[in-house]
Symmetry: C2
Subunit: 336 residues, 2 copies
């Protein structure tokens, strides 16, 4: 089955689901607003997400690279880690990441909770250890009080820290994009050009991979299906997790939601603009060169996927106590 | 005149101002809530304050080192600059900085507008140039639109950028501390220990320097009046601005407002805790060793100076356009 006919089948599947009313049956579905199961855990997780004390330097927080002022990304090709280390891969947006089949480009974390522990202890990112992160948080009285309220015990551990961060991240969804309004039956929400762009996106086979509410995140796919994708980036993708040669250069399909905000694109951050990204995808994944007109239409459609960004008051972090270990960002890596 | 009698005179001056009603006449006055002259300029400045695109790396914003989640400071001895450079001096809090006689520890900027341009172009901080910062902001359509709304012209220049940032910073005041409630006549706002701590603070001469609404920021004073202050930090203070030997080791007196949140202390960040800071100040500035009891009382008083922190929704930054120059944080310094 070729990519194109696969695309057709997916479209046909969605068309056949027989939704009633104004809702359109499409391979991409509207995003629902977040439901917050435990507001207190979410609020605790929000503070931790913004807290640079989870890093060795006291300078890098989750929000440093997944910046909620900037589409949940850092808009860099690859991120800056502890001691200005160059990250190995483009930081994916945190927005709508709860909808992904797994976390990280290679899917090595099953869920957001498991993901959240990764950067804290990664020597190239926050460069801390889970033990030291727990020691810092447990030394801050207001945090201890919040952990007791949320978890019923004042004991801080890394599972509680990452669970709270994940609970916050699960709320970071972006409903009400213009495309979602159109999906929900509001034909005036898109311009004719944008609708045409969506039609090209759909009929060209893009939706084979970019489907579901997040328009991506549902599968791993080879980067370079039709022709090899050329890059200096050494990342090998899912093979690092499965050990299977067949998974070499398979990466998690990124979400197209808010893609207007999450430049640069691809796992290596090589495409600065949407026009470049659409061109490359057409060539290496679909074996086609989009005309300038089609490219512009697809880009116009992609920009309709920008939804309501999470808005909330900037969190105020509880102060360290006299007992809190102090960060020393300039110490040699072997000591703290 | 000794420090102690100077302190007495300051107290006597304030006691003689003859305020009526419940308001207490003290050398420290309550902080008034911010008045916002131009809400649109303030909102523009808020975005710019949080925008890392004003830095060469695309990673460092004003908020990186003057973090409004953390008392307007970074809680590091000295800040982390471009390429993980070690900053020369402790980052002062931005909170209530509009009340300072001048900006920076050595007062080399007259006001917040002049200050805001400094870190952007400082090779050890944001490491950009004003020209490149303007080029980036002018390439972002939503910013251009906001500049036109605020300034009546779409032309972006560094003066407009820093004026907007300063307009935002002027709103970053922290009224309603427990001490301010006490100053305003609410005797129950402080515990007897905290009131005793204030009495020791006042009668020991601390208010000679730490006076006015910000409890500091009104003058430059020598660090090490009675005995030399020993530090590895090479900063020489106000002499760098005036060229006068008499100004060697003169630094702007830091505000005591929100001091609970703005650790570590002093221009070199050498004091990790308030107890240490109070002890050192007693010895090198006043020639006295505070008893443990007095030290604890002063610390208890200082913690009543934590006011309402600025709260506002995390700003959402306008996306770069295809024309926006992209940051390259890992490029050699000589190129961009």
């Amino acid at each position: 089955m070729t990519i194109r006919t696969m695309g057709f089948c997916v479209v046909a599947f969605w068309l056949s689901t027989g939704w009633v009313g104004a809702q359109r049956a499409e391979p991409i579905q509207p995003i629902s607003p977040a439901t917050i199961d435990d507001p207190r855990m979410m609020e605790l997780g929000k503070k931790l997400y913004f807290d640079p004390r989870l890093s060795r330097s006291g300078f890098i927080s989750c929000n440093s690279c997944h910046n909620l002022s900037m589409g949940g990304s850092d808009n860099l090709k690859t991120s800056i880690g502890h001691n200005w280390q160059k990250g190995p891969i483009n930081a994916p947006t945190v927005l709508n990441s709860s909808m992904s089949v797994a976390q990280f480009w290679d899917g090595r974390a099953r869920d957001l909770r498991e993901q959240a522990g990764g950067p804290i202890a990664n020597p190239g990112e926050m460069a801390f250890t889970h033990e030291l992160a727990v020691e810092v948080i447990a030394s801050i009285p207001q945090y201890v009080q919040e952990f007791e309220t949320v978890f019923g015990t004042p004991t801080v551990d890394i599972d509680k820290i990452t669970s709270a961060i994940a609970a916050f991240e699960e709320t970071l969804v972006t409903p009400n994009s213009r495309f979602d309004k159109w999906l929900s039956g509001d034909s005036a929400a898109l311009t004719p050009t944008e609708v045409q762009g969506y039609e090209v996106f759909k009929t060209s086979g893009c939706v084979v991979c970019h489907n579901g509410p997040a328009a991506g995140g549902t599968s791993f796919r080879k980067m370079g299906v039709v022709e090899p994708y050329r890059t200096d980036n050494p990342a090998e993708g899912r093979v690092a997790v499965t050990g299977r040669d067949a998974d070499r250069f398979n990466f998690k399909v990124p979400t197209m939601r808010n893609v207007e905000l999450t430049y640069p694109y691809f796992h290596d951050g090589a495409a600065d603009t949407l026009a470049q990204a659409v061109d490359v995808m057409g060539r290496v994944q679909l074996g086609r060169r989009f005309s300038e007109d089609d490219n512009a239409k697809i880009v116009a459609f992609l920009k309709t996927l920008t939804g309501d960004q999470p808005t909330f008051p900037l969190p105020l972090l509880p102060p360290s106590s006299d007992k809190t270990p102090r960060p020393n960002p300039f110490a040699p890596t072997s000591t703290r």
